[in-house]
């Protein structure tokens, strides 16, 4: 007796410590993660590729992008300036940029002019190499053209316009935005749009940052409506997706948690008609949730919202053990002896826990940080709720309840009616028919490994992002090339080999690309181009042309000096200039040298970066979306293989206690339920995803619980059977609510769990028919 009480007190103390730990963590910081990237495991082969993916997504993710639109351009700019000022004044942003970047042309010319001999636009290089360059005509055209499309260069230093054409083709902004009155604008049929960029102060994924940003944007947006005709606003940025994910997850935690609780209380009240079982059951669930949260926080920096949403649905399953305990107490009536009751219940409860843990344990092995976190949460939550039932309830519910089970005989009567009519042969025939009906569905099963199932993206944000992409002309940045070299020079040379190929595809499946070698050719290329100029346009050929054109003598001297100067422009020198600022994320130092990123504009699915990069040394095509999808597919296949194995383990556990025949009888309803659910999926045309496969593993682990409870207690105890029904109802309620989640992965979990467990519960009495009551 004393050991019992001691164990209970130690247990309570442990739970309290966990509670204090959790409370502390939530008070000092907000250990909630909403970062969608945290959902994604590393997918790339090399660490450099992962670093490149990170660098690109940070570049895109750390800022919010707005387009302020109005039919009247002047009004649009005025509105954009007001909007930017509003954001600035809010203090929610580190930086708000509404002005077009003022790139001083002198910065450009002073950087490139000294090295111009080595810098040729592709067209000029081809013409010079093919001896088709018409020097005199080019000179005359340059002198007499009515306008110039490019930055003006001094004819003394650039008589043929080589530098001018080099500068004009620099891959600066591969967008449709053009500066107008100091702001970047783009126009569509009716509207002039003005770009405003803002960098949130603080982490984009922190709840307080998100709240400040959302409030500031809402404020500034409402001010947009003050003008004569209100301006339009489009927005995109990780901060908005993060906030939407967080608020919807919070709503779902409330809905699922609250809904489950209300449902549980209602059903338990129907069953027990007494407050004590309700309160004590909730205590065991609370212990589970607290310990689960503590376990996650002890092993992870932050708890992901997806975990909390799923965790909220776990209440419905964790309460099952307490329900079984109190149902047994109800059945015993005035004869209740807590310790004996527990001894009788324990094996069944242990079986139920073990099979559930097998299911969640399988989840813990997936490589998705968020999914394995869910598994840890569920594993700890169920185990500690179970321990709380076993350690605390016998002490807290020693006295018999005020009622006996006679009030809840209806379910048992139904069960007896089933028992009277059902024969083993009939039951097997029923299963056979149900499965036979499911076969056409199985044949139509499809799979889906799209990465979007990980992410809940509100349609309004997706629409705005799509419009912004079309207007601005940017790509998503999930596809790019990674070029690795032992040093800057090798990386640049390898990149040039790639861009040589890419150039042929521009306009055919490729809108454009941004490569660093477009700004700084490799030293080898610069030397080759200088040699080409020296050969094609030596001073003795050029000097008379310049003189005849009327240029002063300084032009010929400059030409001589240019050909003689052999210094090359280096990547490091270029990086020091303000020009390099927007492209710095495309250059990564690596352990073994330099890595460069070539980004693509336009997301044409027809382009196959993999085949373009093939056989180029050091060049790899990275497609994060495709890699994640491939990973999802791989783990879906693994889950498919794991499923029968998990089935065998569950069966082994069951057979250990119940023997072969009864174990099989317990498994059958769940297996049949899985088969039927899959058949329904096939008929309905719903695709199977990794998450539905994982849900099947959970069905296997949790679906057998009800057959176990029935076999353990069902036929002889009315309240226990009613308890089984209440347990099933609470679980189904929780998973049903989970099916309403906006997070596709959780939604898929919820739907299949709801479907599979409903059928498993409905079929559970057949375990009794086939296996008989446990003696």
């Amino acid at each position: 007796m004393h050991t019992r009480q001691f164990a209970a007190i130690v247990w309570l103390a442990l739970v309290l410590m966990a509670a204090v730990h959790v409370a502390q963590r939530f008070v000092t910081t907000t250990p909630l993660a909403t970062d969608l990237l945290a959902l994604l495991p590393p997918t790339e082969k090399s660490a450099t590729a992962e670093a490149a993916v990170r660098a690109l997504s940070e570049q895109l993710g750390n800022r919010a992008l707005f387009l302020v639109g109005h039919a009247d351009p002047e009004e649009a700019r005025r509105a954009a300036r007001g909007f930017a000022a509003g954001l600035e004044a809010s203090g929610a942003f580190k930086r708000v940029i509404a002005a077009a970047p003022q790139l001083d042309p002198r910065t450009l010319t002073s950087l490139y002019l000294p090295h111009r001999a080595g810098l040729l636009a592709p067209g000029d290089r081809d013409a010079l190499a093919g001896s088709t360059f018409a020097a005199e005509n080019t000179l005359l055209r340059r002198m007499h053209q009515p306008f110039q499309t490019g930055l003006a260069t001094d004819p003394t230093y650039d008589p043929f316009g080589f530098l001018q054409r080099w500068l004009a083709q620099l891959p600066f902004a591969q967008t449709h935005l053009t500066p107008s009155d100091g702001m970047l604008t783009v126009r569509d049929a009716q509207t002039t749009w003005v770009l405003v960029l803002a960098e949130p102060l603080g982490s984009t994924f922190a709840a307080d940052t998100q709240a400040r940003v959302i409030a500031a944007v809402a404020n500034a947006e409402s001010a947009l409506g003050d003008g004569a005709a209100s301006a339009l606003l489009l927005r995109t940025g990780a901060v908005f997706y993060g906030d939407a994910a967080r608020t919807s997850a919070e709503r779902e935690v409330d809905m699922i948690g609250g809904g489950s609780l209300i449902g549980i209380l209602l059903m338990m009240w129907l069953l027990f008609r007494s407050l004590r079982p309700l309160a004590l059951s909730l205590v065991t669930v609370a212990c589970g949730i607290v310990c689960a949260t503590a376990a996650v926080l002890a092993t992870h920096d932050r708890i992901h919202l997806i975990t909390l949403v799923f965790g909220a649905s776990l209440i419905g399953e964790a309460v099952d053990y307490a329900i079984q305990f109190f149902a047994a107490r109800l059945d015993a009536g005035p004869l209740w002896q807590a310790d004996q009751g527990l001894v009788r219940l324990l094996p069944g409860l242990a079986m139920a826990l073990a099979t559930s843990l097998i299911g969640y344990g399988a989840l813990a092995l997936t490589p998705f940080p968020a999914i394995s976190q869910i598994a840890l949460f569920a594993f700890t939550g169920l185990a500690t709720a179970w321990l709380s039932v076993v350690l605390l309830l016998p002490l807290l519910a020693r006295a018999p309840g005020p009622h006996d089970g006679n009030d809840v005989r209806l379910p048992q009567r139904l069960l007896c009616a089933w028992q009277d009519r059902a024969t083993p042969r009939g039951v097997i025939a029923l299963v056979a028919v149900l499965l036979a009906v499911s076969i056409p569905g199985w044949l139509h099963l499809t799979t889906d490994d799209d990465v979007r199932q990980l992410v809940a993206r509100p349609a309004t944000l997706v629409d705005q992002e799509a419009r912004i992409r079309v207007l601005v002309g940017t790509a998503g940045g999930s596809r790019f090339f990674l070029i690795e070299g032992a040093n800057d020079e090798e990386a640049l040379r390898r990149e040039e080999a790639l861009t040589e190929r890419l150039r042929a595809h521009v306009g055919q499946g490729l809108a454009g690309y941004t490569a660093i070698s477009g700004f700084v050719p490799s030293a080898a290329t610069q030397a080759a181009q200088r040699a080409l100029l020296q050969r094609a346009l030596p001073l003795d050929k050029v000097a008379p042309l310049l003189d005849e054109a009327g240029l002063r003598n300084t032009a010929a001297e400059a030409w001589h000096d240019m050909l003689a100067d052999e210094t090359t422009l280096t990547l490091r020198a270029w990086l020091e200039t303000p020009l390099a600022q927007p492209f710095k994320h495309q250059i990564l130092p690596t352990a073994s040298g330099t890595a460069l990123i070539v980004t693509l504009s336009g997301d044409d699915p027809g382009l196959d970066p993999g085949s373009l990069a093939a056989d180029l040394p050091g060049v790899s095509a990275i497609d994060k979306t495709a890699s994640v999808s491939a990973l999802l597919a791989e783990y879906r296949r693994l889950a498919t293989l794991w499923l029968p194995l998990a089935g065998l383990i569950v069966f082994a556990v069951l057979a250990g206690r119940y023997g072969f025949r009864q174990g099989a009888a317990i498994m059958l309803p769940t297996l049949a339920a899985m088969g039927i659910a899959l058949g329904l999926y096939g008929v309905a045309g719903v695709s199977l995803t990794l998450f539905s496969m994982l849900a099947l593993v959970l069905i296997l682990g949790s679906g057998v619980n009800y057959a176990i409870f029935i076999i353990e207690a069902g036929a002889r105890a009315p309240a226990s059977f009613a308890g089984v029904l209440v347990s099933a109802a609470t679980t189904l309620l929780a998973f049903g609510l989970l099916a309403l989640s906006s997070m596709p992965a959780l939604h898929q979990f919820g739907v299949l769990l709801l479907l599979g467990i409903s059928i498993a519960v409905l079929l559970a009495p057949m375990a009794l028919t086939l296996g008989g009551t446990r003696r």
Binding site: E74, A100, P105, H144, F147, A173, T178, R552
Partner: protein
Amino acid sequence: MHRVIASCAVFLLILPLAAVAGPTTAQLAARMAQRIEQAPVLRADFTQEKQMAAFRKPLQTRGQFTFASGQGVIWQIEAPLKVAYVLGEDRIVEIGEDGAAQVRTARDIPGLAQVGALLRALLGAQTDTLAELFTVTPAGTLDAWFLTLTPKPGLLAQAMREVRMNGSRHVERIYIEEANGDSITLNFRNFREDRALLPAERERFGLR
């Protein structure tokens, strides 16, 4: 970005009629709209003189242009070399003496689409587009007007100090003073109004 700047030399031809603010402007714009409606095609001869520090003497150019409302401009240089520039909505075609055409589209030159938009705005007398680039000061009378265009702060102002122009029914003279002290003077004469393009011109604009 800076590409837009440059294209102005040609487009400035028709600037005054659309860009000015004030009653005179409105009258000029109305008259221009009326003129375009009567004769959507305008042809004229031009002479261009560039004063550039790099050259020992001014550069003289002469030729003729065709301005077609809704299509664009053909700028035909006759001397000292023969070359034609066809400025359409989203492309520039450069045609040499040998007939070899070099096409540059909005894809090659990102600013080009905006040039096209600017052009359309000019022809449609959409003052908003022009006022984006310049502060416009009108003077004179409806029949003998003068305009001073000052680039708004920005890249344009870095390249160009001032534009002065005058005309009556048509633009007759444009003087552009660049920031580095170089200057361009364009004189127009022998104006021919027409209701339609000639077949050869249509072909250059890529019309059947």
